[in-house]
């Protein structure tokens, strides 16, 4: 039932509110041209100071989304076997930002302050593998090609888990092949030349799967 006494107020009040807005300056921030200042405790993109990192493994344990896995540095690639308990201090984090929720728990867990919080929030990539960053790339100074990246990331399960799509099983088989190859290399059962040849084959297969990613699959 309409309350007649209050009707003029109920009609005039919304009208007065909207007409006042008409003469105010709009609140819109014209984004690419204008930017808001983010708060000082904003949790943006994560950086890594690779020199400070001691390979303690706390960040991967802290990560609720399991986006962090460990690989070696580029110069240790052929020599360091991470499966060996003695070599744990050589591991460095690779982070899949496609699954990261920027909770910054890894930064809290880091004992040396090598993982750092930055206030950037702008980042664009062309495919989901580019969102997985190698430890050298984590300070945004170096950039690897897709093939180099895949070569390093085959030590981890980040690609099949993060961007595997319907090819996850196929890719996991490749990762297992790769592990066997690496173990053979470190055990000394194959030479470095043989390793290089077999490596190329596996990476070619991996690139073939990656080229199919995101294209969609026709199920018969």
């Amino acid at each position: 039932m309409v309350d007649i006494k209050r009707l003029p107020l109920r009609v005039l009040k919304p009208l007065s509110v909207t007409i006042r807005y008409l003469f105010q300056k709009p609140f819109t921030v014209m984004y690419p041209r204008e930017k808001l200042n983010v708060s000082p405790n904003y949790r943006g993109i994560i950086y890594l100071d690779i020199e400070k990192c001691i390979g303690c493994g706390m960040c991967a344990r802290a990560c609720p989304n399991e986006t962090i896995e460990y690989i070696t540095k580029e110069e240790d690639f052929m020599t360091i076997n991470l499966n060996d308990k003695k070599n744990l201090k050589f591991r460095r984090p690779a982070i899949d930002f496609g699954h990261c929720m920027f909770c910054a728990l890894c930064i809290e867990a880091c004992p040396t302050g090598s993982l750092q919080r930055h206030m950037d929030y702008e980042w664009h990539v062309k495919n989901r593998i580019e969102m997985i960053l190698l430890p050298e790339e984590l300070n945004r100074l170096k950039k690897y090609t897709l093939r180099e990246k895949v070569e390093r990331l085959l030590d981890t399960t980040l690609i099949p888990k993060g961007v595997g799509d319907v090819f996850e099983e196929e890719f996991m088989k490749l990762v297992n092949d790769w592990r066997a190859l690496r173990n053979a290399l470190f055990a000394g059962t194959i030479t470095e030349d043989e390793f290089m040849k077999k490596k190329e084959v596996i990476i070619d297969k991996a690139m073939e799967i990656i080229s199919k990613l995101g294209k969609g699959v026709v199920f018969e």
Binding site: V2, P14, V17, T18, I19, Y21, L22, P26, T28
Partner: protein, 359 residues
């Protein structure tokens, strides 16, 4: 007479003389019969009105979007063209290239015809709306009744469109359009009765020219309020847009329409807006009368767009009413209000008659 007025008059008479000259040349060249001449002139007038109306429609759509934004304290369209003016053209192009879908359950013929017919019906009132002295396509002695009669057909076409879509939401939207029409046809006519009593005519030209001295909004405030609300309901404007009610019925009667047919249904909305604003300008805001320094047509256009601003203001300020509230508002409050307005008008008419002067 001012400078602007003189320039306007000379330019318009030059253009009109040129058009007449071209017509004469065509008629002498092809040896056309002389009885065709009147029809040719009417056709030229129709084309001019149509083109100018389409240009204004582009402006109105942009104007409404921009105003909606500013009433919300945001910026609305900004990127396409200067101040986002070309956004409407982009939207129409997008609608044109979209897939045209007819649902399986639809009654095909009616479904396809309804939006076009709706558009056609709503163009008819433009024929009798006077924009300035001499600026009309047709002058008939009962043009007000004619406009009401024609715009009454629209909701029944909405009902047809909703029914033929074969969708429950469309159908409910159509029913609501019919219910609103039945409830609000009465207050609409009754509230306009005051104006008819004061001006003593059903001719829109006559009604507008009676307001050279004083606008009817000052003599008919109650009638104006009743008429404004009734127009909003009749033309399905926002607080009373129950036939489309996004929060309840998807988009109501236009749910199943896609591609340019949806574009036509949106065009219907802006046609409603234009016709409703033009009628309010003529009936209550003194038509083309204003200070002398601008030509009458310019005053009419300025007033029309101010009325559109008021429509948008009402649209943005109120939440959508429930269907029973809308119907109750019509029967219980607006009809008594407009009857009261008629009684008051009849009582005071002899005393205010000296102020009302025709030209």
């Amino acid at each position: 007479m001012s400078v602007v007025n003189d320039i306007y008059n000379s330019v318009v008479s030059q253009i009109w003389a040129f058009i007449i000259y071209v017509l004469d040349v065509i008629f002498t060249l092809f040896n056309l019969p002389s009885w065709l001449y009147d029809y040719a002139i009417i056709l030229v007038k129709i084309i001019i009105l149509f083109v100018l109306f389409l240009v204004d429609l582009l402006f109105i759509v942009w104007f409404e979007r921009k105003l909606l934004g500013r009433f919300h304290n945001r910026r609305s369209v900004t990127e396409t063209g200067p101040a986002g003016f070309l956004q409407n053209i982009a939207d129409v192009l997008k609608l044109l290239v979209k897939e045209d879908i007819t649902p399986k359950n639809a009654k095909k013929w009616i479904f396809e015809l309804a939006p076009a017919l709706l558009m056609f019906i709503l163009f008819i009132p433009l024929a009798v709306i006077p924009f300035a002295p001499g600026y009309w396509l047709a002058r008939i002695p009962t043009s007000l009744i004619f406009v009401f009669a024609v715009s009454t057909i629209a909701p029944s076409l909405v009902l047809l469109a909703g029914w033929s879509s074969g969708n429950k939401y469309s159908m409910i939207g159509g029913f609501r359009a019919a219910a609103q029409l039945v409830a609000y046809e009465v207050p609409l006519a009754l509230s306009v009765l005051g104006v008819i009593i004061l001006s003593g005519s059903l001719d829109l030209v006559e009604i507008a020219s009676m307001q050279s001295n004083i606008w009817f909004i000052l003599l008919q405030p109650l009638g104006f309020i009743a008429y404004l609300i009734s127009t909003n309901v009749e033309f399905e404007r926002m607080p009373f847009d129950l036939p489309e009610a996004e929060s309840e019925l998807v988009v109501g009667w236009r749910t199943e329409y896609s591609s340019i047919k949806f574009g036509l249904t949106m065009g219907v909305e802006y046609l409603h807006l234009f016709v409703g604003a033009a009628l309010i300008t003529i009936l209550y805001l003194g038509g083309w009368y204003g200070p002398d320094f601008l030509p009458p047509i310019v005053w009419f256009i300025i007033k029309l767009h101010l009325v559109i601003l008021i429509f948008v203001w009402i649209r943005i300020s109120f939440p959508r009413a429930r269907i029973d509230q809308v119907i109750r508002l019509g029967w219980r409050y607006l009809i008594p209000l407009s009857v009261l307005n008629i009684i008051i008008t009849i009582l005071i008419a002899p005393y205010i008659a000296p102020f009302i002067r025709g030209v």
